[in-house]
């Protein structure tokens, strides 16, 4: 097998200066939530890193996760594809189709046996194999065959990580997550609907840089991005502490940017990095745009009692009076925040 060039060799061949490379490493450190002091170590590791082969499988999904990745800003997608990884199979993005595409997948598996990454978006239907097929191959068969010699699997998006919308009640296709099926390989869950693009690239970059996967939480999510709740890092948090809430989407509280808890914000129970990494090249995130967090990176968010009901009422089926819900909600919010802090402290101690 021909050995793939190192990233250092690729960049050198492209005439990228050392300054450019150091800049790339600084962006990588930021992406991985590592301290800037790590930049020299990242530079050393990246210079010697060889492009890992990546096979991307899309099952019961809406292509939103691929859309998210193709809008990833740092590193750019073209940089990611051509410099950092070798994307050998992605049936939405690749030019080949049918037998040629499947041949490319098999060739990548053969050439990189034991070393390639499998990325999956979409859930896998077990109700009937015919519900979702690619080239006549059922999703479950394709997944089983492809991960057999993989180094690790990354479940991109809430559908692959938790079953997502296809798995929502009544789950007509019998949709399951990747980790329901893959139990003998490391599986990293990168949930979100879609996930933040930089989080997707960060997981790949971590593997590329250090040859290992990131530290994960109890849902298999990278702690660097899913270690704190949206509420913990929300710039509207002071209003929550002051008890100042928007009651409707067009009242004074909404105009003044007060807390969206009463409008159903799931920030207190949702672990994700939207409040810091943000979306659209760091422009904003849903709460900054005046909309509550939907909790899309948590399991079963679609069935969690309603997007526009406060966490308290949503969790008890909407039966409580609204006034009671707010009081209870504040208590739950404070409890959730305390739990989150305890969890962070535990994480820090473990780390």
């Amino acid at each position: 097998m021909k050995q793939k060039p190192t990233l250092g060799e690729v960049l050198q061949a492209k005439g990228v200066s050392r300054r450019g490379f150091l800049k790339y490493c600084a962006a990588t450190a930021s992406l991985l939530a590592l301290p800037p002091a790590m930049v020299p170590r990242i530079a050393q590791a990246l210079e010697a890193a060889r492009r890992p082969s990546v096979i991307w499988l899309s099952f019961q999904e809406c292509t939103g996760c691929t859309e998210s990745l193709t809008r990833s800003s740092s590193p750019t997608l073209e940089g990611l594809i051509f410099d950092s990884i070798s994307l050998d199979y992605h049936h939405t993005l690749q030019a080949a189709s049918g037998e040629a595409a499947e041949a490319a997948r098999h060739a990548a598996m053969e050439e990189n046996r034991g070393n390639y990454l499998v990325l999956v978006d979409g859930s896998i239907p077990l109700g009937n194999p015919g519900f979702s097929t690619i080239a006549g191959i059922s999703n479950v068969d394709m997944l089983t065959e492809t991960v057999a010699d993989a180094a690790a699997v990354v479940a991109i998006g809430s559908c692959a990580a938790f079953g997502g919308i296809p798995g929502a009640n009544p789950n007509p296709t019998g949709a399951v997550s990747v980790s329901d099926l893959v139990t003998d390989k490391p599986v990293v869950n990168v949930p979100g609907c879609p996930p933040i693009p930089t989080v997707i690239t960060a997981v790949l970059t971590q593997f590329l840089t250090f040859g290992q996967l990131p530290d994960l939480d109890h849902y298999g999510r990278p702690r660097a991005f899913y270690g704190q709740t949206i509420h913990d890092r929300c710039y509207r948090r002071p209003f929550y502490e002051q008890g100042r809430f928007a009651e409707t989407f067009d009242d004074e509280g909404a105009r003044k940017g007060w807390c969206l808890y009463k409008l159903g914000c799931k920030g207190p129970i949702t672990y994700n990095a939207c409040a810091t990494v943000k979306w659209n090249q760091g422009t904003s995130f849903p709460i900054e745009s005046g909309h509550p967090c939907l909790g899309c990176s948590e399991p079963d968010f679609w069935d969690d009692g309603g997007f526009y009901r406060p966490v308290s009422t949503a969790r008890i089926g909407g039966g409580a009076a609204f006034g009671t819900a707010v009081a209870a909600g504040a208590a739950i919010g404070v409890a959730a925040a305390a739990m989150s802090r305890r969890r962070q402290q535990k994480t820090i101690k473990e780390g």
Binding site: V16, S17, R18, R19, G20, F21, L22, K23, Y24, A26, A27, A29, S30, A33, P35, P36, A37, S73, S74, P75, T76, G79, R233, C234, Y235, R236, P238, F239, R255, K256, G257, W258, A275, T276, V277, Q281, G282, S284, E288
Partner: protein, 135 residues
């Protein structure tokens, strides 16, 4: 219309702590020669906060533009030793934003590998000129 300030008339949440962090970093730079980098990309800034921080630090005597894998805007603030760095990728998107507390940001100094590559190019140029002169 700018987004509402969630802190009303009170100071914004992130600016003052960061200014304090910069001050302590200046202490370390002066006392021990230790440089500090603050990665602004990982902080939960509210609307308008980053602009306020940038405004508080201002623009000092030096401005530099770097063109390497996209543009970078680097400038010393009105506080000598405190540098503001914006790195953009090749698509012109912000890839990183940092405050460096140092005498000169490392990325502005000529790098060993680049110096060696430049010397090789210059050597080749001189060799070609000499060959041409001999013909």
């Amino acid at each position: 219309m700018s987004a509402p300030n969630p802190f009303g008339e009170s100071p914004r949440g992130n600016v003052e702590p960061i200014l304090n962090e910069v001050m302590h970093a200046l202490d370390r730079l002066l006392d021990d020669g230790e440089a500090t980098v603050i990665d602004l990309g990982r902080l939960p800034f509210g609307p308008g906060e980053i602009e306020e921080l940038e405004g508080q630090l201002g623009t000092g005597e030096i401005k530099a533009r770097l063109d390497a894998l996209g543009a970078s805007r680097i400038r010393e603030t009105i506080y000598p030793g405190v540098w503001w760095l914006d790195h953009y990728n090749t698509a012109g998107e912000l890839a990183g934003r940092y405050i460096e507390i140092t005498r000169v940001p490392d990325i502005l100094t000529s790098q060993e590998a680049d110096i060696a590559a430049g010397r090789a190019r210059l050597h080749e140029l001189i060799s070609r000129s000499e060959e041409t002169a001999l013909q």
